[in-house]
């Protein structure tokens, strides 16, 4: 009865259709890794390239969902979510580098003629600790940044600019060789994860399935949040923060919770991205990446849960086709897309679909 309007709207647009399409997509995603295990040359075999590409897009879709939680619901436009994604990726990368180098130092450190690991690399040979770092690094950074930003009541475009500056600062820091994260080459040449060969089809299939699982879990979490009173408070916060304060809610806690949650989701997505793609370098923190994430969300539809997933899928699908067909025009196309969406599709693709459903 009294769910958020968006949920009600999507129900009206045809719950059966939504469910049917959702199930089909999920089944296809589950079938892909299985098909990739078929012997090469089989007509149904899915290539490693396709599997990696789709896996990468799924990771991006999680980022889009995480960004939508803070932007679409709480109205905080972050232009720095790439930083949290990259931090999760780097945390996983540290483990993979240790696994690849065995008892010795990672290759890039030997190259810099360092004799021992910096202190923050301690324990990264353990997978469990690396997983903790995947959550802690982006989570703590988001907590500290969010605490001060929300305490000072920074919002709107100022908040966006600060997040952009944050990811830019992160990129510059990680570009330095002295920082101890491989400088501008980042981490690559991974060999194995938990003893399994990282390029083996079966390992890829498992990583892919984990990504699907994380995506489904994030979607469920987002759905529960959006349906809860917490979700309604976020929407209220986005539309009339003063009113909410005079109702007796302290906006800071609500913002901080969703902000940290979003950062952690990005970190997890980054941690699944790195072993699948096989490389992480500071360019993941470049401001354009984070802006691109905002384009996915805007294109798909802010404040809807399915929209950002659609947006991430569409834009990245186009990108991989475009960068092969007309590599030099991709950025122009992305820019044009953003302008068109802002002008003609303020509620994104999902808004368009809902409108047609209502007519």
């Amino acid at each position: 009865m009294n769910q958020p309007l968006l949920v009600t709207a999507s129900q009206k647009a045809g719950p059966r259709w939504t469910l049917a399409i959702g199930t089909t997509v999920l089944l296809v995603l589950l079938a892909l890794p299985v098909l990739s295990l078929l012997p090469a040359g089989h007509s149904l075999q899915v290539s490693a390239y396709t599997l990696t590409l789709v896996g990468k897009i799924l990771c991006y879709a999680i980022v889009a969902l995480a960004l939508d939680l803070v932007w679409g619901y709480a109205g905080l436009l972050s232009l720095g979510h790439g930083l949290f994604f990259a931090l999760g990726g780097y945390a996983m990368g540290m483990y993979l580098m240790r696994e690849a180098s065995g008892d010795g130092l990672p290759a890039f450190m030997t190259f810099l003629s360092w004799s021992e690991l910096p202190w923050y690399w301690a324990g990264t040979q353990h997978f469990a600790w690396a997983l903790c770092l995947v959550v802690l690094a982006p989570g703590l950074l988001a907590l500290v940044f969010g605490y001060f930003a929300f305490r000072s009541r920074i919002k709107g475009v100022y908040f966006s600019i600060m997040t952009q500056a944050l990811t830019f600062a992160g990129m510059l820091l990680f570009f330095r060789n002295e920082t101890g994260f491989g400088g501008n080459n980042g981490f690559t040449h991974f060999r194995s994860i938990l003893g399994f060969e990282i390029t083996a089809q079966s390992t890829r299939a498992v990583l892919f399935l984990l990504t699907v699982a994380l995506l489904v879990a994030s979607l469920y979490l987002g759905w529960r949040l959006a349906r809860s009173k917490f979700g309604r408070v976020l929407t209220a916060l986005r539309d009339a923060e003063n009113r909410l304060m005079f109702c007796g809610y302290d906006p800071r806690g609500f913002k901080l919770f969703v902000w940290v949650l979003s950062a952690v989701l990005c970190g997890l997505a980054g941690a699944l991205y790195v072993p699948q793609v096989g490389i992480i370098n500071p360019s993941e923190m470049s401001p354009t990446n984070s802006i691109e994430a905002a384009v996915w969300v805007a294109l798909g539809g802010r404040g809807t849960l399915i929209g950002p997933l659609l947006g991430a899928g569409l834009v990245n699908g186009m990108k991989s086709w475009f960068t092969v067909a007309f590599p030099e025009y991709w950025l122009f196309c992305l820019g044009a897309l953003f302008i068109l969406v802002t002008l003609y599709l303020p509620r994104g693709v999902v808004g368009l679909l809902n409108k047609r459903g209502e007519q």
Partner: protein, 286 residues
């Protein structure tokens, strides 16, 4: 800055009609109502003494003294720039006074509390421009305003109890929006938004309601209805209404305060203050 001569009334004198009203209400048990932990032994819910607020040298409030009794309905009038909205900002913690005392009940120092703490302590505020959560439905607007634990954790786990649902339905009836319960608040008319915001205040169940121009943009029938509503609320709650519409003020207020250049110019019944020479001078010019 020239000191504005204060009207020759002492705080005690100013309180007199209120105490009368209070004792009258005590007789029928209305004056006894008080929130948990809020001490109102002296019958005064809000005490403002020698409040000064200056913005870059401009004195928005100048040695302002104001007392509001338990269950009282007080109207604040005054020409533009008299400091009415600043007064509300001071009470709700949005603006900190440069000096002066602001007490809620006998024990809560409003100058040391945040906006959120003040709201939780039981002061509700309606803005001049109706402010509701436009993307949420009317029902959800009231749900969010409802008096409850408003922490993050509680909001994550919150479920509406039958009792809370009934309370929301009751308020929907009171403000005449039962039929629009599931409509997005953004689609309501201006007057309906005003009522929704008043309804949200009622859901908060505050001790003191601050209403900034509640009937602005309302039709005559709506204004009349609002007057009835406010009169029925007085006694259960204390109300402080800032309003320009003298007809409306006359229909609700037993006690009127006139603000001028940041301090109290006159206080009393509407007839008394309307007969006051200085009030006439301020309103009609010299």
């Amino acid at each position: 800055m020239r000191a504005i001569p204060l009207p020759p009334v002492h705080p005690e004198f100013m309180l007199e009609p209120i105490l009368d009203a209070g004792s009258g209400r005590d007789a029928i048990g209305l004056g006894q109502r008080r929130g948990e932990g809020l001490e109102v032994r002296h019958g005064t819910l809000l005490t403002l003494e020698d409040i000064n607020v200056s913005f870059d040298g401009f004195k928005a409030l100048n040695n302002l003294n104001l007392y509001i009794g338990v269950g009282e309905l007080r109207c604040i009038i005054g020409p533009n720039g008299a400091g009415k909205t600043t007064l509300m900002d001071v009470i709700t913690g949005k603006t900190r006074p440069t000096s002066g005392k602001a007490w809620f009940g006998d024990t809560l120092d409003l100058t040391r509390m945040s906006e959120v703490q003040i709201a939780q302590a039981g002061i509700g505020r309606k803005f001049q421009k109706p402010t509701v959560f436009e993307a949420l439905s009317v029902f959800e607007n009231l749900e969010l305003a409802q008096k409850a634990d408003k922490s993050v954790l509680a909001s994550l786990l919150a479920r509406l109890s039958g009792e809370q649902r009934e309370r929301i339905d009751e308020i929907l009836q009171t403000i005449g929006l039962s039929a629009s319960a599931q409509r997005p608040a953004g689609l309501l008319s201006h007057g309906q938004k005003q009522f929704l915001e008043i309804g949200m205040l009622l859901m908060q169940d505050p001790q003191l309601l601050l209403l900034d121009e509640p009937v602005a943009g309302m039709t005559d029938a709506e204004t009349e209805f609002t007057a009835e509503l406010f009169k029925s609320l007085a006694g259960k709650h204390s109300l402080m209404v800032v309003e320009h519409d003298m007809g409306f003020v006359g229909s609700i207020a037993d006690h009127v305060t006139v603000l001028h250049q940041g301090s109290v110019l006159a206080e009393g019944s509407l007839e008394q203050v309307q007969a006051d020479d200085r009030v006439i001078e301020v309103y009609l010019g010299r």
